[in-house]
Amino acid sequence: MSEIKTVDSPEGFEGSGFFATSLDKVIGLARSHSLWPLPFATSCCGIEFMATMGSHYDISRFGSERPSFSPRQADLLMVMGTIAKKMGPIVKQVYLQMAEPRWVIAVGACASSGGVFDTYSVLQGIDRIIPVDVYVPGCPPRPEQILDGLIQIQHMAKNEPLRRREDPEYKALLKSYNI
């Protein structure tokens, strides 16, 4: 037997040659363990992401083997670094180009709330323009913190209903951002 610990199967009804469970659980399981991130790295937190991608704090253990720079093929938008007001429309455009289901992590203090830079040119947190699922504080956060944020997204992806996009609450949230 190999020593690699595989994921537990969800609860369901098993018999010889079949396994019955709800589609939500299976798809949630598959989604959460293969989140492809879009590293939107602007500044210092981007270097910590590069360290997370390196072999010491491997992010591909968690399923994020392929960082996709094309929004159409990414599940998870990781905004790392300061977002200036000049960059705001671009973040919004990238978010709009992503297909559902999509999640957003704001990595670092600058992306969460503007960070140290309470100035005329810095957007005070990306949640002013796009909805954010997980905030990872730190300046810059350690790779372990970034991985913790990713694990929280994995929990969210595993446990949410199949068609979150049809949810009235989610629709209201997007409407509040004019999306």
């Binding site: 007001k85 000049k86 309470d118 100035t119 005329y120 040119s121 005070q124």
Partner: protein, 155 residues
């Protein structure tokens, strides 16, 4: 010194770096002379910075050039003061290609116009910004943000 004589004023040497002031009309001839003279050879423009002194009348804005001559290992600082009503100065970008963006940055921050510059537009701030942020009368923070209570942060 001997060449330009009275056009160079306020010669001083703070912290070992020779500094003098000049006026906006003379700055380009001075820079050309320093660049092309065989003995001086100041062929490297290190930096252009702007500065704003709201209290000194008639000399509110300043443009500070730092030059460096590699062969002689000498640095030089030239200060040019401009009045608030007419902050204009000829561009050094024909002489030094590095002055191009440095002058754009100074224009972006202070509103100092460089006559003859190929593309004097904002470089670091957003194009639709209507004020020049580094001037002393403008605050650091964005005035339109709502959730940070200034009184608590001591501003």
């Amino acid at each position: 010194m001997s060449h330009f004589g009275p056009k160079i004023t306020e010669l001083e040497e703070p912290f070992g770096l020779l500094t003098f002031s000049a006026s906006a009309e003379d700055i380009i001839p001075i820079l050309e002379y320093l660049n092309q003279n065989d003995r001086l050879r100041f062929k490297f423009l290190t930096d252009i910075a702007g500065i704003h002194f709201p209290d000194s009348k008639g000399k509110e804005f300043g443009v500070i050039y730092h030059l460096h001559g590699f062969e002689n290992a000498v640095r030089l600082r030239i200060k040019v003061y401009l009045p608030k009503e007419k902050p204009e100065i000829p561009t050094a970008s024909k002489l030094y290609a590095s002055a191009n963006w440095m002058e754009r940055e100074t224009f972006d921050f202070y509103g100092i116009k460089f006559i003859g510059h190929p593309n004097l537009t904002r470089i670091l701030n957003m194009d639709d910004m209507d004020y020049h942020p580094m001037r002393k009368e403008y605050p650091l923070e964005d005035g339109t943000r709502e959730d940070k209570i200034d009184a608590l942060f001591g501003r």
